[in-house]
Amino acid sequence: MRVPVELFDYATKEPVEGELFDEVTVEHFLETQRDWRPAVIEAAKAMLKSGAPRVNVPRHFHWDWSTKEADLRVLAFSFFGITCRGKLQGIMKLETAGRSSRLPEHKGKPLIYIDYLETAPWNIKTLVEALGKGPQFGAVGTRLIEAAVRRSLEEGFKGRLALHSLSTSEQFYLEKCGMMGVGRDSAKQDLLWCEFTPEQAEIFLGEGGGAA
């Protein structure tokens, strides 16, 4: 699957076309390690040195997508990526089996779980600003969340979706996407479990995924 998606070019302040795809390969994982990880680590160090609020300091500096190579062959996992101007701009891993809602009214109902979602460091405003630059593309995370909601609908999960949010991303999921903060998970470093009900997912898609 390869479909065009609309991103936002911060330089021109105009929409720009990217491509959403699900044929993610180990090459994409290696690209994140080669092109993304050094920038994330550099920004984290710069933010700590400058005394930036700890809530803004990236928590995903240790992520390594290449360790997920074996998961590419497992039906219970799905991967999506977004490219623009020849570069990977975002990547996401979904769990499509074995996860269910934690909301009382939907308890036990299956959902799509976003195991990992990462946008390229040059698209994360707080991160690139720590390096004295401006972000390149907006709406990458939003387009990936939309893809996850659509997968939920395709699977018959009615748009139900959940994830554990890093502290640096809670505002995005709760305020921009309109997900519900269900509770902190002591089994997962006290990360916040965020969830879309079918109704919230429908609103999210109807609003074009919310703001960039």
Binding site: V74, L75, A76, T96, G98, K109, P110, E154
Partner: protein, 69 residues
Amino acid sequence: MNTKKTMTLNLTDQEMKVLEELSTQKDLSKTAILRQALRLYQLVDVKLAEGGKLFFEDQKKEKAELMVL
């Protein structure tokens, strides 16, 4: 999504009853239930082949049972 292929599945009355119950409980079609089952089966199989172990823990977290497929 990939192109789908059709197959005929023969189930006993009891198997069909369980499938229908799960379909109602999970708010999923019977096809989606079976697709979930296949995914979980493969996931467990892969993890066991990699040397992983699967445990069920009771509510008191006192007893764990190893499940091997």
